[in-house]
Structures are given as C-alpha cells and as structure tokens.
Symmetry: C2
Amino acid sequence: MSLTVGGRYDGILGVTAALEVLRTIHAAGYKPHAPLAAIDWTNEEGARFPKMCCASSVWSGSQKVEAQHALEDLEGTQMKAELERIGFLGKEKCSYIDMPLSAHFELHIEQGPILEKEGKKIGVVGGVQAMRWYKVTCSGREGHAGATPMDNRADALLAAAKLIAVVNTSSIAHGAVGTVGIVKTATEAVNTIVGGAWFTIDLRCPYEHELDAIEQELKDAAKKITSADGVMFSFEQTWDCPAVRFDKTALSCVRAAGEEYIGKEMCREMDSAAGHDRFHTPGIRLTYSAETSMRVPTAMIFVPSKDGISHNPNEYTSKEEWYKSNCDKKLTTSADGAQVLLNAVLKYDSILQGE
Amino acid sequence: MSLTVGGRYDGILGVTAALEVLRTIHAAGYKPHAPLAAIDWTNEEGARFPKMCCASSVWSGSQKVEAQHALEDLEGTQMKAELERIGFLGKEKCSYIDMPLSAHFELHIEQGPILEKEGKKIGVVGGVQAMRWYKVTCSGREGHAGATPMDNRADALLAAAKLIAVVNTSSIAHGAVGTVGIVKTATEAVNTIVGGAWFTIDLRCPYEHELDAIEQELKDAAKKITSADGVMFSFEQTWDCPAVRFDKTALSCVRAAGEEYIGKEMCREMDSAAGHDRFHTPGIRLTYSAETSMRVPTAMIFVPSKDGISHNPNEYTSKEEWYKSNCDKKLTTSADGAQVLLNAVLKYDSILQGE
C-alpha cells in the first residue's frame, strides 16, 4: 500500500499526527488487519496535575487509577473532579487488561539537538536511556579566607568543584551524559572558606553497566579528594530509572518505514534521552512509550527539535524544512514524522496479519 | 628595665592589655620618655555602625569624622547621637595632626591557625597582606540534561568549577591564599545544564606582584576553558587593598621584645592576613594598625587563636597555656602578648629618648 499523509501539523505533534494517520487510512478506504486507535494520554506531562505519564502508567498498571484521580493541581482541584466537570471521566477501564493493545507507536520531537546537528530527519528510537540521580554532600571546615593557610583547609566548595569536573570527564569517557544542575553551599560570604556544600548529579546512558562504572569512578575520585583535601563526601542516590529497550519487531518497522520513505542517510538510530522529565519537577517519569513497552511491543519515532530546545517556550519543530542538509526532498519535518508513523503502523499491521 | 605585667586578660584582649601595660609602668613608678596612651578606637569592627576602622580612619585622615558620625545602625540611630547620649562625644579633634603619636603598637589575636599549629607563642607582624576581591561571571547555555550531547554543551557551572580549582592551585603556587566563598547559578534544577553562574574570589598575599601573577593565570585559564567549553567569562575586581609594610624600627622592637622574653624559637615572623574584615560585610577595611601605619611607625603582636577560629562565637585565646609545645614555661598566652607589648613599647621609648 502507499498512503500519503496530508496537512501540516501545529500544536501537539504526536496526537495530531496520530489522528492524521487514522484520517489518511480512512480516506483511502484501506482496512487494516488490526483496529487502529489514536490515544491522547491524559496529563502525561504533569503540566497541571503533578505526575508524569499519568494515564499511561494507569494503563500499564504501574500506577493505580485512584491515586492519579486524587492528584491535585495548584488550586487544590482534584483531577477526577475536573475530568467529571469537563465530561471526560469515561466509564471504560483503561488498563492493559481491559483495553489491550497489540502494539504502540509514538511520534515525538527529539527534545535534543542531535538530529538537527547531524542533518537527519528521522530518529529511529531504540529505547529510553537509563537515568540515575544523586545528591552528593561534602563536609569540610569553615575558616577565615585570609588567615587560614592553604595547607590547613578543608574547603568543601573546592572539593565539590573537583568532583564536578570528574562528573564531566567520566560521563564522556563512558558515552553517557552527566550534569550537575544544582550546587549549594552552607555559607555564602566572600571571605569565608566554605565548610559544607552539596550538589546534584544527573547521569543518563543506554547502558546500565556504564552508569555503574561512572558511579564507581566518582566514588574513587571522591576518596582521592577526601584524602587530599580533608573533606568528607557522601553519596545519596535519589532516583534510579532502568533503561528501556523497545521491541525489536516494532523497532524494525520504524527503521524500515524511515529508510524506505526518506532514505537511510536521513535516519539515525538513537535513544530517547529525555524521558519526559520536566524542569523543576523532581518526581519525573519516563515517556509513555516506556510505560506501554512494559506490556506490548512499542517503538518511537523522533523528528528534529529546533536548536535542540525542549520544555521551553522556544520549543519548535517546523512544518517547513528548516535545516540545510543534503536532502533534496522538500518535505515538512512534522509530516515526515507522520508519514513514517503511518508506514510503520501499516508494516506492523502486515506482520500481525501474517501471524 | 624589667617590668612584669600581672593579671589574666578576658574580654577585649588588645585594650585590656594596653591598660595593663600602663598600669604596670605606673605601678613601678617608671617614667617613660614619651607619654603613653591606651587607645580604644570607637566602632573599629563596625559591629554596630557599618564601617570598619571607623575611628582609626578618622585619625589617619582617610575618612571624614562627619561621615563616620552620620553612620546609622540597623535601627536608624546615628553614631554621633549615640555617642552624645552615652557621654562619649569628646571635644578633642582626633586626627594625626591634632593628636599626634610617635608610634602605635597593637596586640591582637592571630585570627588564624598558624601560631597554634606551629606551636609558637608570639607573632611578629611585618605588615598586612594585600587583598583583592573579584566577581567572576560565566555565561553558557541552558540545556536539557538528558538530551544535550556532551560535545554540544556550554555548561557554566562546569566551567566555573574548573576555574575554582585553578584559584586554588595558582594561589598555592604563588604563596598566596585564595578562596571562593560564594557560587551562584542562574538555574537550579537537577536536569538542566546551568546556563549562567558567578562566583567570588578572595586573594591575599604579602606581595602585590604575586597577586598580579595569579590574576593573569586565572584569566589565562578562563580563556582556555572558554575555548574548550564554549562559555564566556568576565572578571570584575570588586575590591583592591594594597599591602601594608610596618615600620622597620617599630617591628624590630617587637621582634627583640618577643625573642628576649619568650625565646626566638617561640616567635614567628608573619603577616596579618585578616585585616579586620567581617563576615558578610563587603565594605571592609584594614586593621587600625594599617590606618596608623599611614602616619606613624606602627607594629603588631599576635598571640594564638584557639583552632584558628575568629569572628565567630568560638573565637578564643586562652589565659592558660593551651597547646602542647616544647615550651617549658608555664605562661598564659594573653599575658605573654601583654608582656611583649610592654617590652616593645619600652624599647621604642628608649630609641625615642636616644634621638
């Protein structure tokens, strides 16, 4: 079959593209083997009610529906009451048992700069990176900045600074990304040696064993700094989210759809590094595809994000082609993604039909 | 002559010791060549009215008396009104012209750990270190901690951390002390790459040219980090206080008094690194001896500070001998200082008499 999606997609890319896929199939009179549905997961970003993957985690069974219904927004309104008020509190049980799926495909913006930077159009997403968060505390000794000799100091900020540099070098060495986003000191005075400091570490990598290795390197480095600087480090792991590997068959459908439609040179195998975490929200969850992948074959497609910006008013994925690449097709990027989604879904449907 | 101070000194060490010196001379019926005075400089620590070396700077002419009188405490009470209320607004003009001195000697606690650590009892203070303060700002680019590759980052906190380490190594290499007491970031989220950061630097050294060299090394290091990390640094010097070298004759009197009384092995030549700066007070000034040294021969004597702690409720200089050293004399440390002060003053008086 050869169906072509029309339109240009504004707004919520994934849902709009999913609806366009259904519209295209319907308009062509094509009858798939498996019934198709577009799912608009409720409150998945936790934008109003403070929980990521709110609905998809109910479907996957990793969260209880009652707990999600009881979530309150900043004004104290519960989600259940609000769903009722707007007429969206359905009666169907939305679990993987009561409302089973054969597979789940998701189109998403990359939320990062890789596709744009490399001039690629389609990301073939193999899974979601493992993530670990730490809070590292360093205890030293306060002192007078003028009167305390350099060899008699236990400078907690200096020690933290040394370890922050190791987070960077060790992450690079292991093909991971590592970030220190927060650093705090117990004192804040120009002329006081900092006696206590803490900072956060955000580590992500497709491979858990690399994260293990980085963690070990950081602890080894902390030991060296401890003995040299007379400080004490303590590590607390505040979050640990294992890597997700998507279903090989579903993934192969995305890969084939992308390569056939737009060319292998325009596709890139990659992992989702974002996991739908929001800035300033500590209790983050993975993307909904991570939830569905717990129950059914799942795959994701990425399209480029302008300047790699995400979760920011400047987040943008153009309807127009907007990067200079060696691609001679004048296709819009969001439509590229929708077309690959359509083709991948039809490929998977063929496989289901053959089984 | 051989006069011995009595008493053990609690409270404000310098003033109490100065009064004890006068009392001892008077009690012995000894008549010095030059009249002696104990000066209790008003509001010298700026504890109530926000100015260091408040009175000594009026005496030295570096500040106007009207400006000091107009200083307000936290309740808005002016210093002049308060001096009047308590009956201490004298009529004498307290300037180096109207109330000249031949010399000025000061006993002070070290406000640092050197004497205690080295088991010394008397610091022979050659001067006050030069001090420079900087605010260093680093501009990078915010980004998603998961989705931004390591080679596409401009992490302002990482860059700051690298430079903080250089403050340490460069200060040590040049025999200075260097401290980063405050670091702040524009964002504070576990999963956001820091796009902007600033930190302070406090550098002190007896030699200005070493501070010049450190500053140059920091700027060179910043340039290297800039080109490697894609960030921008800017340096602002927020304070610059030149080194003070005390009068050689006054200093030699302190040295001789210390060595004769307590032995050369118990004395240590050193610089004042503190300069009477207060925690959390940006507009700090030097110790009053730095003010008097602008006009007359001046020297300082240090006695040990317990654990090197100063400007802190735990600041303590014992009346009893309190460190384990190879000294077999059972002398109290504050009395040691007062005795050396007495002997130094008498030595200088002899020199004046001989002139």
